[in-house]
């Protein structure tokens, strides 16, 4: 897989440097089968003009004893941890990581006392070491260490105790530590994505609710496709999903409890409800409801109760996204004639149009950092960002039909879906805020309506 990096506005620790040899001979431990290359991103478009590669060597994690666990033997598991971390860091467009498949293995004692000479000889700027240990309680302990090779010093370390089934989370946490320490940005790898999996011909599309980790692993279909499912959103605690389903004939929004597999209507109205969204604290659900053909935005407690109508305009008022502090909502309305974005207070007061860029503003999503609003330009179907007051509009994508942006938890990457002209086939893509690092996310089938959740605690 190739990698092109560029990043504007992020200060990297260390200096750009030579990449190290992908072709270097490897063979450390003969510890069994190569790790499955599940999930991951295709690098499909990128900018070669600006390389800001920080070479990071990530040999396989080591273990004190190669023992069996529900996640496999700890030795090959250590190698898989290294692979997951490598894939994470490769996919964000900042670093040039080299993973276990191209590097020698390390000894257990190396974890806290790296042989810096070896790694500087390979041109690595940064070095990640780690171990995995099977605990007596059946859980795994994973240690993660970041070193600056030139300085020969430790920059950060963390340890994680996880159930064997959650071993990938330890790798994502480690990648998050490396990413945060080196970029100064908030972490985002240890997070999940809900989306709609699509199959079948254009006039008979089967649409299923599905979830996966941020790197595409642990993929799971939630609904069986008998009823059309649309526009899911993960609750901030990842315990439930809110989404639209035609399961009872009419479009209605439901809260699906991931633990129990049960779902309930968000509101008991006989009117169609759609475009559901959570508040950042998970206490409220925003939704749109059409009454006699007129759609307005409503808010209801996530635990049920009496909804509150937030808009009363005769135009279509739809969607909505809370500001990170929950005090304001950006939504779309065609009250001025065409789709435009508006901001209001969380109680519906003080509604003001913010988009005046000459296109059509749809599906606004407030960045988790609060500083930007992503939207679909429904005039040309490109993804754009603007400030919360509607300024500094920038277009980030150039597909035939790009739609429905959702933010990475750290507000640095935007995911969206792209529809192919003619065939109607769909896929998930993501782009960073520079617009230069554009990638397609691998999914088992076609995919739309992505929703990226927060970083797991």
């Amino acid at each position: 897989m190739m990698l092109r990096n560029s990043l504007i506005g992020l200060a990297l620790a260390g200096t750009a440097a030579t990449a190290f040899g992908q072709a270097t001979p490897l063979p450390p431990s003969g510890a069994g089968t190569p790790p499955p290359q599940e999930g991951g991103l295709d690098v499909t478009v990128s900018d070669e003009s600006e390389w800001q590669d920080l070479g990071i060597a990530i040999p396989g994690f080591t273990t004190d004893r190669d023992v069996a666990t529900p996640a496999g033997q700890t030795a090959p598991l250590g190698r898989q941890l290294g692979e997951v971390i490598t894939a994470d860091l490769r996919n964000n467009g900042l670093f040039k990581p080299t993973g276990p498949s191209a590097l020698p293995g390390i000894a257990y004692s190396d974890v806290t006392a790296p042989q810096f000479g070896i790694w500087s000889g390979r041109g690595a700027d940064m070095l990640v070491h780690g171990y995995v240990r099977a605990g007596g309680d059946g859980r795994l302990t994973v240690g993660c260490y970041l070193y600056d090779v030139a300085l020969g010093s430790e920059l950060a370390r963390q340890g994680y105790v996880v159930a064997p089934a959650d071993w990938r989370r330890a790798a994502h946490k480690c990648a998050d530590m490396v990413y945060s320490r080196l970029s100064g940005e908030s972490p985002f790898f240890d997070s999940k994505i809900a989306y709609i999996a699509e199959t079948g011909p254009k006039n008979h599309r089967v649409k299923r609710l599905a979830i996966m980790d941020s790197d595409g692993a642990n993929h799971r279909f939630i609904t069986n496709g008998q009823a059309t499912a649309l526009t899911p959103r993960y609750s901030p605690d990842y315990k439930s999903l809110v989404y639209l389903s035609y399961v009872q004939g009419n479009p209605r929004i439901y809260v699906y409890d991931i633990g129990s597999g049960q779902q309930r209507l968000v509101t008991q109205s006989r009117n169609p409800t759609f475009a559901p969204r959570w508040s950042p604290d998970g206490r409220w659900i925003l939704y749109s409801m059409a009454v006699g053909g007129n759609t307005d935005v409503y808010r209801v407690s996530a635990s049920g109760g009496q909804p509150r109508r937030l808009t009363t305009d005769p135009g279509i008022d739809v969607g909505g996204s809370f500001s990170p502090d929950g005090s304001r909502i950006v939504f779309e309305s065609d009250r001025s004639g065409a789709q435009q974005c508006y901001v209001m207070n969380a109680d519906g007061s003080d509604q003001r149009r913010i988009s005046f860029f000459g296109g059509r503003c749809a599906t606004p999503e407030w960045s988790p950092r609060g500083d930007q609003i992503a939207f679909t330009n429904a005039g040309n179907f490109k993804i754009g960002v603007m400030s919360p007051t509607g300024g500094s509009v920038r277009t980030l994508t150039d597909g035939w039909q790009d739609e429905a942006p959702t933010w990475s938890p750290n507000g640095r990457i935007i995911q969206f879906f792209r529809t192919e002209r003619g065939s109607g086939r769909t896929g998930l893509w993501q782009v960073d805020l520079t617009g230069r690092n554009l990638r397609r996310l691998k999914t088992p089938v076609d995919a739309s309506d992505p929703a990226w959740g927060p970083v797991l605690p």
Partner: protein, 172 residues
């Protein structure tokens, strides 16, 4: 605006029938499959009794069309639509026990949520017009499919024109 009284409507209709223009695009691209506009389950329907009075087949055979078409982002009932809906109202007057569902649809060149809302508008515009013609509101339900159920599969103006529609389906 659409709430015309019967006389006004009849007047409009006579104009409409003369100048029945534009809407369903002149040359329609061939239907992709044999599926036609049957986006709703008609499994209870048997081809052999296609002419049974009051059946869905009878409805389709009797009315000018089961479908009206809309301009981009619009939901107004124009003269051509009015003529179609008038014919539907006449059939419904003959079968006062029959109920209908009006499906609102959009073309693919819209965002998903907005299209769900726009489909609602279109279905309700057709409903409002039929109610204006004397069809009991309680006999008419509406449903929006947004852009989820296109009948024309191309990504071109003529396909999009065919997909921006409201389809009347009898409840059997």
């Amino acid at each position: 605006m659409i709430r015309a009284n019967a006389t006004l409507t009849t007047l409009l209709l006579s104009v409409a029938l003369v100048a029945c223009s534009k809407k369903p695009p002149k040359e329609l691209p061939p239907a992709p499959e044999g599926t036609g506009q049957q986006t709703t389950d008609n499994s209870g329907l048997d081809n052999s009794d296609a002419a049974v009075p009051g059946s869905q087949a009878d409805f389709v055979a009797s009315v000018a069309s089961d479908t009206i078409y809309f301009d981009t982002d619009r939901y107004n009932v124009d003269s051509a639509d009015a003529a179609t809906l008038q014919s539907q109202a006449q059939w419904l007057a003959r079968y006062p026990a029959k109920r209908i569902t009006i499906e609102g649809h959009c073309d693919e060149r819209g965002t998903r949520d907005y299209n769900l809302a726009l489909g609602e508008r279109r279905a309700n515009a057709a409903k409002t017009y039929l109610v204006g013609l004397g069809v009991g509101a309680e006999r008419i339900s509406t449903i929006s499919y947004g852009k989820e159920r296109p009948v024309a599969l191309g990504s071109d103006e003529s396909s999009w024109a065919r997909n921006r529609r409201a389809v009347t389906v009898t409840v059997q």
